[in-house]
């Protein structure tokens, strides 16, 4: 679950980004984007710990693609520091989101008791 921990840390970074990069008060879209994506990524990483929603981290990949697109094409011209932050965090999240939970173990279906087991391996 180390990838989920990193995703949660990146969501905290996203939530702090408006203050770190000094988004202006008029850049409402940037403020909203950082907060909404931070909540989505943080929520998905936490939900991945609950077995019925163990694939929630795949939603982070969708958010990551949005972040990359928003950072690159959200404003005309060369992206500023705040937008470059979106691109870099998006790329990082895209990589971590693809790492399965309990990646060091074989997938759940490969265990003979996978149907009834409460094993966290998936």
């Amino acid at each position: 679950m180390w990838a989920r921990v990193v995703e949660f840390m990146l969501s905290c970074w996203l939530a702090a980004s408006p203050f770190i990069f000094h988004h202006s008060d008029s850049a409402r879209a940037l403020w909203w984007n950082d907060y909404v994506t931070a909540i989505c990524v943080g929520g998905a990483s936490l939900l991945s710990y609950w077995r019925p929603t163990r694939h929630a981290h795949l939603f982070t990949a969708v958010v990551a693609i949005w972040l990359i697109g928003f950072g690159r094409f959200g404003l005309e011209g060369s992206p500023g520091p705040g937008m470059q932050n979106e691109i870099v965090v998006g790329l990082l999240l895209l990589m971590f989101a693809l790492v399965p939970n309990h990646a060091a173990y074989p997938p759940r279906f490969w265990y003979s008791d996978s149907a009834n087991s409460l094993s966290p391996k998936d």
Binding site: A3, G71, R72, S78, P79, M83, Q84, I87, V88, L91, L92, M95, F96, L98, V99, P100, A103, A104, Y105, P106, P107, F109, W110, Y111, S112
Partner: protein
């Protein structure tokens, strides 16, 4: 319970099994950890160059070519790439190297069978990165006309990573090819790619590990 050469069930499977055509397990930690360490070193070097391109540091370390590194990192090619990509090219390289380390760390020591998609993704990250690094070094010499020490070091690491990662990617692709050869079923190959257990796919994997462990003779397989 003694370890089985079969992948299913995972409780009794030998995860450290050697795989044909190699005399070792290409997914073993002893094979993957050096790749991750090397990729992480390249990540640090590329980050150093990226921080200079962001002007978060004022100088870039170069014991061999002096100020030529700065001229490469501030060249028109680098500026154009920054404009197209949105972030400095060195930062993109740093993220790609970090990806090598992340995808190298993920997965069990039998991931060539349990998660072929992850091994192929790892290969997609490592092999094109090596080629791009080579192209960028050629650009340095021919277009920019200057040399950058850290760029050369990271390019060399990229090529070493390609050599080191090749065996595992080859084994995963060979496994999928063998599943296709045995079943001619797209569905089974597709499920094997995404790591779902299939009896025919597990038998193909057994064939690959059995020939090297000696439990199945190559003569028997050819019959």
């Amino acid at each position: 319970m003694s370890a089985s050469l079969k992948g299913y069930p995972a409780e009794s499977a030998d995860l450290e099994v050697r795989v044909s055509p190699y005399s070792y397990n290409p997914s073993a930690w002893s094979q993957r950890l050096p790749i991750c360490v090397l990729a992480f070193i390249a990540f640090l070097l590329a980050t150093h160059m990226g921080l200079y391109q962001w002007r978060l540091i004022g100088d870039v370390w170069d014991p061999a070519f002096g100020d030529q590194s700065k001229q490469v990192l501030d060249s028109d090619v680098a500026k154009k790439m920054h404009l197209w990509l949105g972030v400095p090219d060195a930062i993109l390289g740093a993220i790609a190297y970090l990806g090598d380390a992340i995808f190298g760390l993920a997965g069990s020591t039998r991931r060539w069978q349990y998660r072929p998609w992850l091994v192929i993704l790892f290969g997609i990250d490592v092999i094109p990165l090596g080629l791009v690094s080579g192209i960028l070094v050629i650009c340095q010499a021919t277009i920019v006309g200057n040399w950058c020490f850290l760029c050369l070091v990271t390019a060399l690491i990229s090529l070493v990573l390609v050599v080191m990662a090749y065996d595992e990617v080859y084994v995963s692709l060979k496994y999928l090819a063998l599943v296709w050869k045995k079943t001619k079923s797209r569905k089974i190959v597709w499920r094997a790619l995404w790591g779902f257990p299939e009896k025919a796919a597990d038998e193909a994997a057994l064939e690959m590990v059995g020939t090297i462990s000696g439990s199945i003779s190559p003569d028997a397989l050819s019959k």
